[in-house]
Symmetry: C2
Subunit: 284 residues, 2 copies
Amino acid sequence: MIKVVNHIPEIREIINNWKSQGFKVGFVPTMGYFHEGHLSLMREAKRLSDKVVVSIFVNPTQFGPNEDLDKYPRDIKRDIDLAQKVGVDIIFAPDATQMYDPDFQTWVTVEKLSQGLCGDFRPRHFKGVATVVTKLFNIVQPDISVFGQKDYQQLLVIKRLVKDLNMPIEIIGHPIVREKDGLAMSSRNTYLSSKERENALSLYKSLIHAKNLIEQGESSPEKVIDEIRNIIESYPLTRIEYIFLGDPENLAPYHKQIKKDVLIALAVWVGNTRLIDNIIIKIS
Amino acid sequence: MIKVVNHIPEIREIINNWKSQGFKVGFVPTMGYFHEGHLSLMREAKRLSDKVVVSIFVNPTQFGPNEDLDKYPRDIKRDIDLAQKVGVDIIFAPDATQMYDPDFQTWVTVEKLSQGLCGDFRPRHFKGVATVVTKLFNIVQPDISVFGQKDYQQLLVIKRLVKDLNMPIEIIGHPIVREKDGLAMSSRNTYLSSKERENALSLYKSLIHAKNLIEQGESSPEKVIDEIRNIIESYPLTRIEYIFLGDPENLAPYHKQIKKDVLIALAVWVGNTRLIDNIIIKIS
């Protein structure tokens, strides 16, 4: 039976009890409103550990002042049901006042990897993410933690902070889960009208096209980016925020030639909804 | 028998082994060159836990470009001897390349408490301290950790970061240990010539004088600070960096009147050596 825990001392007690019994703890931090992407992370955590904790916390410090903190979709009852079916042991759902007291003032920043891509458009986002993930890791003290590759830059930021701060946690990246037509699953897809939903497909289509181009030998980053831009812009409700093409290890853009494995990452507004997607193309 | 450990995986293994046996781990992070102040922290850690780890790491990231990183005194053999006599179990002495790899980029900052006092004169100091202490805590995973009150601002910064980042560690502040004549013990006292050593006494003398004044009813911060300044400046080799008088909880200066408990904290250059000292005066 899944258990919902709202308070830090209570979850600490459960975790300490598990640890003293030698259980391996897996952790999936989320903002809730689960879709198949989240559930795949939970299944992976379950496969790799004895006990699974999933946190649901819509973290205010990772939203900018004009972003969608207030309207971010929530449905905790449905979330609990879905997590239970996957075999999650604990849902940890603290409130914001518990996570951030009025004198809160400690921040974790991952300097280089937080720049570029989403970092350029959401200036304090990764500071908020790195800080809340550090807090959640210190509360849950997992042995492993699973993150989706859709938030690819976030995954790199978290891998780096765990390494740099010597946290004894293994970070596991898990592949993007897509709808049948290819749209990357996201809680924010719920914002899309049906016309917007059609336009949203442009992200995946352009990524697949880029993959084909590169696999057929195209080595000019500029050309690939141009073709991606053309595809996306052929959908009238889209507005491109960025198209990144570069090194999947350190997020350095490729300027002249594609010689090594490539990350292509996109952020595109479809109407009033900001969507991201990415693909990694292996160069053999 | 004390054991010296230089590598992170080795200390992790020892700690994991201790934890699995239910031992309570106490930790004293230091920069080495032990004096009685350090030893009193170790004794306190020993009193409060089953196993004691002392780290010796002269952390480059907490020194400014023109500070004394290179000449900071070191004597690891003597340190090991002294720690052994106190009953320390492990000296953890990593080298800097192990603590900071070339891609290191994650920093912990405690924003408000790192400002004012030493923070104004050593702009990146507390960022370096907060970051290395977070790293050491994640490596050693202590139940308790003991810090000296001589570095009073540092103690507040660390208490705050542990609270804000939800680290399951109790931070214990331990009183300043002084030479017979009152000079606060510091590894940096070794820099002082005998003339400078006499001048260095001005810090403690001015603090005691301030305490007497306040206990006799003086409630003007300005007057107390003036008298401190006069005493210190009567010693020709001194140069005052700051005299702080304010709230020991949040480091807010008292401007108008002393009504609550007072922290007086000083930083004074004596020749080329920067010394700090402080006192807390309880207002009943």
